[in-house]
């Protein structure tokens, strides 16, 4: 395949040409309540061509018929030539790599019978349903894939990557009369069959929480000291800061560049954050990004100061910085754009625990788990799975509908304590940007305290 792509690249008349071909084998099982929804095996394949000419813009073609590859290379070239630019697009230098990178399949999912995957999911789904009569509905899904990705460009890069992925997730819906609540569990890893065994208890726990939430009051809206658990703190750094650190946000926008000037103080000295696509076995892990750049650990905030950002080759060239291996596409249907991988808040001092964070809070909110989050530049929102009030330094009653709304700058600056209990999230969700969803990413964080944050809700 590499040779076939190399030949097509050689025949291209464009100044720069890259071709990515993917073949993805996947299987999926889903339950809704006690009913099996689907159990299927799919094969998807296709190619992506992107070319650049001096004085011209990008020409892009994606296609499912690989026989069309040579024709698509010429089409992309024509498209590029139709886009005339005064200021040329430059790509930052990267050493072209020739490599085969096969991630550990950890129990190759292609060798496991679909019936066994159904059995596994049935057990997790059953664990949720067995919790209570109040669990009226569940959604459980298992999805795995093994993706083969070939990448060749006209600078000499030639890569083959084998990327596994497995996600098991469950939603338990609790209902009593008109009140409906849900609990969510999700496990997603760049691994295989062995990594998703033995999670019954976790599915039972979320279903129990959905039932408990039926009796919980809604949190009262207002400003509180807030402690984020590991999972939510991870989602927070992804949503509230990660997206702004993506250089495509700033590279052509002078005002945004000013706002995100390296060296600017973003938080107190306790705050350290980064993005690490090279960390082993996590959902956002990749040996190389979709421009063939090796991934790395990129510090973004060091002791409260902005020290880095995430780049593609184009954004790095424009800003005179180095590519970071963050150009990613969700599939051959899309061009690579600047994306996060595994984004983290680094642990605080070893030995600093949750109790040290909560001790002096008289009235506050302990926000746990994540239903999701969204950023609109400086403003963000994230929805906790559940929460507890904090009263006189203690975790008190369960509350629901905990949504944190905030301004990035104010909120980051109000992080005043970070515990030492770092963990990586292993959720199966994905990130959406520019019409590309879901991109496998994850986050990691310890418990984090925000002096004051806005919680939405009834007032």
């Amino acid at each position: 395949m590499k040779d076939r792509l190399a030949t097509a690249v050689k025949q291209s008349r464009a100044d720069y040409t890259e071709i990515r071909v993917e073949r993805t084998w996947s299987s999926a099982v889903a339950f809704r309540g006690r009913r099996l929804e689907t159990a299927t095996v799919s094969e998807d394949q296709g190619g992506f061509v992107r070319v650049l000419n001096r004085g011209c813009g990008w020409g892009i073609a994606s296609f499912t018929s690989l026989d069309a590859l040579p024709a698509m290379v010429s089409r992309a070239n024509e498209l590029s030539r139709a886009v005339l630019l005064e200021e040329p697009i430059r790509l930052a230098d990267t050493a072209p790599v020739v490599a085969d990178a096969k991630l550990d399949l950890d129990g190759d999912v292609r060798g496991i019978a679909l019936g066994d995957k159904k059995k596994l999911l049935e057990a997790y789904n059953g664990a949720m349903l067995a919790v209570s009569k109040s669990i009226v509905d569940t959604q459980a899904s298992y999805r795995d894939e093994v993706s083969e990705v070939w990448y060749v460009n006209s600078e000499g890069a030639a890569l083959y990557q084998l990327r596994p992925e497995v996600v098991v997730s469950g939603t338990a819906i609790g209902r009593r009369n008109g009140t409906i609540e849900k609990g969510l569990e999700s496990i997603g890893l760049r691994k295989g069959w062995r990594s998703v065994q033995g999670f019954e208890e976790r599915f039972r726990v979320v279903a129990q929480r959905a039932v408990d939430l039926l009796d919980a009051p809604r949190v009262r809206g207002g400003a509180y000291p807030v402690i984020l658990d590991n999972e939510l703190a991870g989602v927070f750094i992804h949503e509230a800061f990660g997206h702004l650190s993506e250089a495509d946000f700033v590279y052509e926008n002078p005002q945004a560049r000013e706002m995100m000037t390296l060296g600017r103080r973003f938080g107190k000295p306790v705050l350290n954050a980064g993005d690490n696509g090279a960390a082993a076995g996590l959902r956002g892990t990749l040996p190389f990004d979709d421009e063939g750049t090796p991934t790395q650990d990129t510090p973004l905030i060091r002791e409260g100061i902005l020290v880095g950002r995430l780049h593609s080759r184009e954004t790095a060239a424009k800003l005179g910085e180095r590519p970071t291996g963050n150009a990613r596409a969700i599939s051959f249907r899309h061009p690579p754009i600047v994306r996060m991988t595994n984004t983290y808040i680094a642990p605080g001092k070893a030995g600093v625990g949750f109790n040290d964070l909560i001790r002096d809070i008289k009235l506050g909110v302990y926000a746990c788990g994540a239903f999701g989050g969204q950023t609109m530049l400086e403003n963000f929102s994230f929805t906790a799975g559940w929460g507890h009030m904090i009263r006189d330094g203690q975790v008190a009653e369960l509350v629901k509908d905990v949504v944190l709304a905030g301004n990035l700058f104010q909120t980051l600056d109000r992080i005043d304590h970070i515990a030492g209990d770092f963990t990586w999230n292993q959720m199966g969700g994905g990130c959406g940007k520019g019409g590309q969803f879901p991109l496998p990413v994850t986050e990691g964080a310890p418990h984090v305290r925000i002096e004051e944050a806005l919680i939405g809700g009834d007032v």
Binding site: G33, L36, T38, A39, T40, V41, S42, E43, Q45, G46, G57, W58, G59, I60, A61, S62, F63, T64, A76, L79, S80, A82, V83, L85, E86, E87, L114, V136, D137, G178, T179, I180, G221, G222, E252, N253, Q255, A256, E258, R333, P335, F371, T375, M376, L377, E378, N379, F380, S381, T383, D401, V403, A405, G406, Q410, L454, G456, G457, D458, V459
Partner: protein, 451 residues
């Protein structure tokens, strides 16, 4: 392609239905006011569902020359694990399919230069100092064929065009983003583009001043875009699937008045000029309109073949399927028809009225409240319960009947089902937004929290 597959299926399984779709997209993107990229995308795929020994299975492929035998074998393997379903595929329709124009030559024939010119015009019209403008123009031409072993067959071609513009203004640490989009099956007219420009300019100008948000239980005008948080729970709860699963709070309420009696909501796949319109659904059910909410009362839930069979009712023609996975319920065009219809305007156009005033004429009597145009995080959380709580993405304060500026650092919360029990006012600004038509609605007693 599909006939050969169904022919093979007749010999191998008890029944089957299939969808073949081919899509060609052409897109141009302007980044920060300059044309950066042009792209095409071509994709074709085949999805098949089989019934084998009473059980259902599915398979899909994007292979260029799919092997019908291999695809059916995968579907049959899937059926071995599948549930027993009492599914009857629709027979060939006695009459011809409803005539609905889905394919527009002007859209299909627009050249790359035409699409670039369209984008460039918007970039020039929207240019203002200290603002970054991104514009994208995406045109799609598709062909769909559906069929089943009971003899039903349908084919149609479609076109679609989406013109999206967003303007970002950063001043210090204040980031303002205003966005709008034209979506249609036919090319936008000059008036459509003019309206898009005015919609963005109106909302941008009013946002330049930042004011303190109010707080408390207040009247809030939800613009057609801002209404998403209120509409989403209804769309979930009106799906036959959530009703079957017992998670819909509207289950068992057919005929019951649950909302303001002026509110009617229909799903209409036969609306002219909309990309979501189609003569037949993805399971060979001829298209027709479905009254979801009729004068405040729950009308019909939407079903696909499988959920209809389980609920012992008929499919409403809301079957939707992709290349992979099994058919599921999907809305087509969702229209909010409110009051006597006089306020709702002509649904053929992108906008009922030129979008040059904020709030659809609903703010005159508001002493203190908000206009909400965008909320952050809609769709996250416990949507179907109706409860929502979101920070504002774009919202304006209204004081003594006038817009006084944009508010930040505020969150709104409420329950969609409760809020729609009493609609305080219906805007004159009905418009299409994606596949939803609605005017602005004034809703009372919305919680607003500020920092």
């Amino acid at each position: 392609m599909i006939d050969r597959l169904l022919e093979t299926a007749r010999r191998k399984v008890d029944g089957a239905d299939a969808l073949w779709r081919r899509e060609e997209q052409t897109a141009v993107a302007f980044e920060s006011g300059r044309l950066k990229a042009a792209g095409i995308s071509e994709e074709a795929g085949l999805n098949v569902r089989v019934l084998s020994k009473g059980r259902m299975g599915v398979a899909g492929t994007t292979a260029a020359q799919p092997d019908p035998e291999a695809l059916l074998e995968r579907a049959r393997a899937s059926a071995e694990l599948g549930e027993v379903v009492d599914l009857a595929f629709p027979k060939a329709a006695p009459a011809s399919l409803p005539p609905i124009p889905t394919y527009f030559n002007r859209t299909a024939n627009a050249s790359l230069d035409d699409l670039i010119a369209l984008g460039r015009m918007l970039v020039e019209r929207l240019a203002r100092p200290d603002c970054q403008i991104n514009v994208s123009v995406e045109r799609e031409v598709d062909e769909t064929a559906v069929g089943n072993t009971a003899g039903a067959r349908g084919e149609y071609r479609g076109t679609g065009i989406a013109v999206t513009a967003d303007v970002t203004r950063i001043a210090g640490d204040d980031v303002l983003m205003v966005y709008d989009q034209y979506v249609g099956a036919d090319m936008p007219t000059d008036a459509d583009l003019e309206a898009l420009v005015r919609s963005i300019e109106t909302r941008l100008s009013a946002a330049l001043t930042v004011v303190t948000p109010p707080d408390g239980s207040l009247p809030v005008v939800f613009t057609p875009a801002g209404l998403a948080a209120v509409v989403l729970p209804l769309e979930q709860a009106l799906s036959g699937k959530t009703v079957l699963q017992g998670s819909s709070p509207l289950a068992g309420k057919v005929g019951a008045v649950m909302f303001d009696e002026r509110l009617s909501i229909i799903d209409d796949p036969l609306t002219p000029g909309r990309p979501a319109s189609r003569p037949i659904d993805d399971e060979c059910v001829p298209s027709r309109a479905t009254g979801l909410v009729e004068r405040g009362a729950i009308g019909r839930f939407v079903y696909d073949l499988e959920t209809a069979a389980r609920a012992k009712t008929q499919s409403t023609g809301n079957g939707r399927r992709g290349i992979f996975g099994k058919p599921h319920i999907g809305y087509t065009n969702v229209l909010f028809r409110i009051g006597d219809g006089a306020h709702s305007g002509h649904v053929g156009a992108q906008y009922a009225a030129p979008p040059s005033i904020l709030g659809g004429g609903l703010i005159a009597d508001i002493d203190d409240g908000l206009i909400v145009d965008d909320l952050i995080g809609v769709g996250q959380g416990n949507v179907i319960s109706g409860a929502f709580s979101h920070p504002v993405g774009l919202a304006y304060r209204v004081q003594r009947g006038e817009v006084t500026g944009r508010v930040k650092d505020a969150a709104v919360a409420g329950n969609a089902y409760d809020l729609l029990k009493r609609i305080g006012g219906v805007g004159t600004d009905g418009r299409w937004l994606g596949s939803r038509w609605s005017p602005s609605l004034l809703l009372e007693g919305v919680s607003v929290a500020r920092r």
